[in-house]
């Protein structure tokens, strides 16, 4: 049966005015959808890709979740903070630039103005642009529910396409990123067919620190090339502490490609994606280290 729905399904709409109320509803064991930016949720509901919720919970009554701030060097981004505000935040641009690059690469202004960074990761599509950046920034997610909270490292958050460790009664309230040494440099490369308004065919984030011609730290995040966004840890290991040189970078890029496990889909073939991981990892490291 194929129906092209133009209308949203029926649901009860609740806009909690306190977090207590929010977690109370979430713990109620109803089928709930959490609505923040809505840029992923509304199309999913329209297309009936997810079961219509009994209750749609609008987070936007909780103004306290809309913030970008620094506390003791740690960046904190609230659940309602939009992609645009992260992309253009002075703090983010200055101290966590790679995240700004990633946020800027998402869709266009109309989406950036609505969508949230937390939503971008909770949606858990393998191509989510903010994910590789957050992976290399070792972001932590503060997750809350009625009777408790937990902190999950982002590399443990994703468990499959559209799947995360979040339980039904939980939400991510905050992204937390520890201070990055000011000497670190990062690049997010998004490969897509169009110049804008496109999904990543491959996303590569590289953050590195160098010291006396050596890789003091290197982190590589990959998007759209595995069931979840991933870190290329073996490639990182190869480089860490080593002297910066072209051959090593080439090897690391090859290993990063081996670590990826992309699929063929309507956007690109697995073969191309694997090659592009190698290409872009190499390109990013070379550019950051100024190795020709």
């Amino acid at each position: 049966m194929v129906i092209f729905y133009r209308r949203l399904p029926k649901f009860e709409y609740i806009k909690p005015e306190s977090q207590n109320m929010l977690f109370e509803i979430l713990s109620d064991n109803k089928n709930c959808s959490v609505y923040a930016g809505g840029t992923d949720l509304i199309p999913k509901l329209k297309k009936r890709l997810i079961k219509p919720p009994d209750v749609l919970i609008d987070l936007k009554g909780l103004n306290e979740l809309d913030y970008i701030k620094i506390e003791g060097g740690t960046l904190k981004i609230g659940a309602l903070s939009t992609i645009y505000s992260v992309a253009t935040s002075k703090i983010v641009i200055e101290k966590f630039n790679i995240l700004s690059q990633a946020a800027k690469s998402i869709a266009a202004f109309q989406i950036q103005n609505r969508g949230t960074i937390v939503g971008n990761i909770c949606n858990a599509v393998p191509s989510a642009d903010s994910a590789p950046a957050l992976l290399v920034l070792n972001a932590k997610l503060n997750i809350k529910k009625k009777d408790g909270s937990r902190k999950v490292n982002i590399d443990e958050f994703f468990i499959g396409p559209n799947k995360t460790v979040l339980d039904k009664d939980e939400i991510v309230t905050e992204v937390e990123i520890s201070e990055v040494p000011s000497s670190f440099k990062g690049i997010y490369y998004k490969l897509s067919t169009r110049g804008k308004m496109d999904l990543a065919t491959v996303g590569v984030a590289v953050l590195l620190g160098s010291d006396n011609g050596r890789f003091s730290d290197i982190r590589i995040g990959l998007g759209a090339v595995a069931p979840t966004p991933i870190r290329a840890k073996r490639a990182e290991e190869l480089l860490k502490g080593e002297k910066i040189n072209k051959e090593l970078i080439n090897n690391a890029a090859r290993i990063a490609s081996d670590e990826s496990s992309p699929i063929d889909d309507h956007r690109a073939s697995a073969t191309y994606r694997k090659i592009m991981v190698e290409t872009l990892v190499k390109r990013a490291i070379c550019r950051l280290t100024e190795v020709g």
Binding site: R6, T193, S269
Partner: protein, 766 residues
Amino acid sequence: MEEINIGDYSLLGKSIPRIDAYEKVTGEAKYAADIELPGMLWCKILRSPLPHAKILNIDISRAKRLTGVKAVCTAKDFKGFRWGWMPITRDEPPLAEDKVRFYGEGVAAVAAIDEETAEEALELIKVDYEELPGVFDPEEALKEGAPVVHDYRPNNISWEFHMDFGDVEKGFKEADLVREDRFATGRVITGFLEPPAAIALWNSSGITIWAAKQSPYFVYRHLAQCFNLPLNKIRVIQPFVGGGFGGTKNDSVAGDFCSVLFSKMTGRPVKFVYKMEEVFLTCRRRHNAIIYNKMGMKKDGTITAMQSRLIADGGAYTAIGPLTMYLTGCISTLPYKLPNFKHDAYRVFTNNPVGAAMRGHGVTHTRFAAEIQMDMMAEELGLDPMEIRLKNAIEAPYETINKVTIFSCGLKDGLLKLKEHPLWKERKKENKDKETISGVGISGVAYLGGARQRGYQSCAAVLRLCEDGTVEYLTGATDAGQGSDTVLTQIVAEELGLSIDHVDIQRVDTAYTPCDAGSYGSRVTALAGEAAMKAAKDLKRQLAEYAAKEWNVSSEDIVFKNNKVYPKHMPDKAIPFRKLAQIACYSGVGAVIIGRGYSQYGIEPYDFEKGIGNAGTAYSFTSQLTRVEVDKETGFTKCTDMIIAHDCGKPLNPGLVESQNQGASVQGLGQAIYEEFVMDRGRTLNANLADYKMPTAVDAPNIEVIHILTDDPKVPYGAKEASEGAIVSSPPSVISAIHDATGIWFKELPVTPEKIALALREKKKE
């Protein structure tokens, strides 16, 4: 305001702002989906989840019982009605009858008090199918034993054409180099932003439908046939139309028939609006085609012969496909001298969505193949791609071997302008940085304007003079966005010597406007323009008689200019046009002054069986330079510049001509490197605007349009077509630019980053 001197005119040749611009920038302009009527119901269609299946049973009982549902229909309610382009190809029912032939074909429909209820009701309809093996590739469909899509075409050949002129074998023998290649064009769609929509009302006066149609007189006839009513009981009213580009909006859709039927069943107005995904999955798209091309060339670049065999994916129904096939061959003999030509075109049924017309209709496929092959051969022979075009380009007057007659041709002039352009002269592989390499490509093409179908094909105009000197202009021609209302109004005002705001063009209403073939094949300015010119001259003639009496001079010596009328050489005697209108309307018992005109150009017959003669009234010539930057590793391609030298004869509104060229070339860029439906067994996997990648503002190149002026006697004021040439010239020039950058010839569209990257790696290995 931009102005090009194309003669002694007050309005023609000037970039007058669009007459509908105010309504469009204020949101006042009403499109079909914007219209509501009291008591209106919503129509919604249930569609097939299988590409090929027998329908065993449809149970609508539960849907009918849902509160708010007013009617449910299936194919049975249309009593065997089927429509199609020719009487012998009427093979498409509004809703599938005994079997479904493509994924998403309509099987049942609901009318309910609101759209939400209609959607809910569809969920309650139960359809039992027996899945049949499907066929999804046209070459597979031609094989012995392939599943049969239509019983009346047991070999799956929907339509075929065979054209044979001169002696290609002899031509190949005379050649120093003969090449054979396989080319393919992609699965693309028009991409208008306004989904089909309509609101239908059936009452004692017959059918009234406000429908988003590019050619309202098609649906007018379809509805008369479907509901067995005389044409004077069918009223199609034209709201603003949000883009057409051929195909879907030049035809009827299931929603049109269902909403009219529901209005008949319920006595209430019924509205439908398609979803964009529905458009992508179930509406017309361009045929994708495989072209086996063979060309013979002498050492000096002279083309001796060309033979092409084209196999097009027609999808599940015939639609306008026969004409598409005709157009793939009939002007392959342009724009280069071709003494020997043979063409075999096959349109093949498959279980895919229906292939139909789209801007650049038919010509895009074969011209792409021929342009690229010509460049490949030039390269092999060590010839310059510019010189080879200049060498073979035709010059007017000219008659092709299949008797296409050319009275004006700006191709050489255009190519010479491009040859001197800095983009061409200074082209070299400047390495912007080591990751990116650039290239410049060229193409030169022809397109027919004032296209003619079979049967009724005239355009007409009626001008009604108001007593205050303003004019009401009735035409059956539709402005789907291209700007024809503005150009046609310019023509009428020019002839009458009036300022543009004195002439008011009405949008089509088949109850009042004269019948018109439609807005397709770049025919409006040529043919509706001719009608407008003649109607204005007719009105002027009548008015001049009154004026002549006043001044006692010959009516031929009356001048209409600047809202004034005066005897030749006596401008001091001028009276306002308004005054003359009053004199004419009030003299004696009063007169009704109506100007009438209809188009007569291009009435000589053409041979639709053999491909002989003019399928258009005049031919445009477009040559194009394109510059691209290609990422050597990722294949990411950015088109930076396009220079389009376009011979539309005389540009009546240069700004609109430029806009047509700019839009068509970017649409062509889409076809060349961005857009393609990815299919899996009849199912389109990327039926949305995120994954079907139409170029965005950041992808659009800088575009310079160079007007090449020629004078063609076959069209009014020498104005030829301006909307389709650039969608034909764009893909080959883009592909030629990518070749210039990479050294690789790509023969299948679209050329995505992936294809480029993988090909470059292969090349490196060699």
